[in-house]
Symmetry: C2
Subunit: 416 residues, 2 copies
Amino acid sequence: MLYSKIFSKTSKTTASDADSVNARLLTQAGFIQKQMAGVYIFLPLGLRVLNKIENIIREEMEKLGACEVLMPTLTQEDSWQKTKRADLDILFHLKGRGEAKLVLNPTHEEVITPLMKNFVASYRDLPFSAFQFQNKFRNEPRAKSGLLRGREFLMKDLYSFHADEKNLDIFYEKAKKTYVNVYKRLGIGKQTFLTYASGGSFSKFSHEFQTICEAGEDTIYLCDKCKVAINQEIIDIQKTCPICNGSDLRQEKAAEAGNIFKLRTKFSEPFNLTYKTAEGKDNFVEMGCYGIGLSRAMGIIVELFHDDKGIIWPENVAPFQIHLMALGKEKNVAEEAQKIYQQMQKKGIEVLYDDRADVSAGEKFAVADLIGLPYRVVISEKTLAKKSVELKKRTQTKADLIPTQKIIKTLSSYEP
Amino acid sequence: MLYSKIFSKTSKTTASDADSVNARLLTQAGFIQKQMAGVYIFLPLGLRVLNKIENIIREEMEKLGACEVLMPTLTQEDSWQKTKRADLDILFHLKGRGEAKLVLNPTHEEVITPLMKNFVASYRDLPFSAFQFQNKFRNEPRAKSGLLRGREFLMKDLYSFHADEKNLDIFYEKAKKTYVNVYKRLGIGKQTFLTYASGGSFSKFSHEFQTICEAGEDTIYLCDKCKVAINQEIIDIQKTCPICNGSDLRQEKAAEAGNIFKLRTKFSEPFNLTYKTAEGKDNFVEMGCYGIGLSRAMGIIVELFHDDKGIIWPENVAPFQIHLMALGKEKNVAEEAQKIYQQMQKKGIEVLYDDRADVSAGEKFAVADLIGLPYRVVISEKTLAKKSVELKKRTQTKADLIPTQKIIKTLSSYEP
């Protein structure tokens, strides 16, 4: 894609109300723009990252055997009365025609549980799982930390339905592994830990995935030996590692990158979601729910991977792999760059080509560092004289000279 | 995909409150489920159709040179005060923290126009265009006709920005052609006509694309010679064909499949979106907007293409191309079907395999007709004896016997 055609503009001035590293860098680099506190516009670069994250999660959900659906934002308040959640502090309320009381869904148990009544009749219809990518709306007291705590944000939510607790447990363990894979593929696997948290009324624990990160709102106690953590909210009732029982725990700031929860029959009871057992008995369906915030994940990635010059995207979620640029105003340099750009496109290499003619080398370098694509390819009079191009990883300081005729092959072998 | 694993269930009973053919058939066939009046859940089959429509539109928008963005649902009411649209009857209002007045966007001029102030400074930044796929919220007095008039619905909206009216006109004509391509690819090109409609305060006309269809809410007057129409709303001021000036017009019921509008400076003025001309003068940016409702398009397609047995999907938007089934309980039939299913998947043929063992041939046929995939492939003892399978188009009544070893090749050549 041509940089001159993209709806994006890097900015040297700090967004005046940027409350975090991720908001500041993503705004400066032209990925997002703030609409209001906790509500962001995704510009083309930001949307590409969001789509990369979405595709990774979708692949992992499908491997888990879950079906994709799309549930609405608007829902009758009635459904939230049924589950005694209509008074939740973060719920947005509004009125429809005829003074109908509506809410904007902050999560979708109140939609999918009654929906399943149409599809689950007998034990033969179970187990079953469905997921979606859908905006969530939460009227947070304080929206803050950029994409880390939004009032409108994109989330993947997965719901599972089972005949009994044992079957729920089996799926729950599989989902845990799926989540580990997701974080690994997003590039934050090493910093993200399964964390024991409050379980609510039906289960002893729920599980979060917490990513160690200064901007995070949570505090966790990590067992380095077992690679699991305890959320501060339950440290009084769980003082030692739940795996090894050790008390050598490291306190860290962390951001919640996802959570999974055994709902058991908390929602199937109020909605009377039952199934017939093989013996003809009516049982409540056992449920689990599993969430990952996509825009939040994007924020966490930036919090983890940046330096004083800008963002450093992991390859799997980078909006493009290559930042290509031509330096100087010589016609032959621009022609060579254009040629390489077309070759890259033909090979399916994702390339952002800074095709601006009236911009200095220094500015182009600064923009490339700020946007933070994994690889930078530079063409200039100097490199042309050596029939070469300069190739530099975003994480390296020194560039390598690569013969022009080998650059496509070299880059193709780099693709994630 | 296996029919037994999909989150879908056809139903012989009519949805009690289905108000239209599209709502009835899409609900019965397991594509959608009503959440409340004008608000629908998209089940896996329905979401696949929506994604097909989205991909076709995205390809055409990118050919037009537009950038994809994603704007939010929540917006400050202030922005709507600025354009004097805060009192629009269909606007959903709600309160945020600190009694902040918010609205749910029914369209996004109030978001993209102030956004562009960050990106447009000089005539060099123009022309520019951006599009998105985003849910719209409209508190319609009466939500009706299934997916044709929703309160929450998925829409593609495109906005264009120009230095002068002439440049807007050029883009507007290109967008018209793009829209014609979109409807052709969706399979409704022959029934969809460019229609002159009310232009508002800045232009003589706006343009709609109206699809002739009994369930439609509009009345149009069609010139068969020029293939353009006039919306009834302006028939008093435009009594003859705007192209040939002829008065031989045919009255038809139609559903609006899209609209395009020269906004001129209607939004750039209140938001003070200006650019510097080459001479250093400040001019208001000229704007156009271009919308297509995706869920509505899905509803229109079903209104046009169905019979008394069910839906008949055009190939480009069908959730799968092939409905595969095995008849009878013989093991070798099921094995052969499984083999063909795997071969199809390997070849990238989109196939829905009705793998249910305990269901009669009659019921499987009825489900296939109701769901309405373009091709049906049947394997039975009878066809196996002839080393063949039965292939039938949804639009045909008679099936052809195709040698089993040729079926994959035959189907591959059918792909749209």
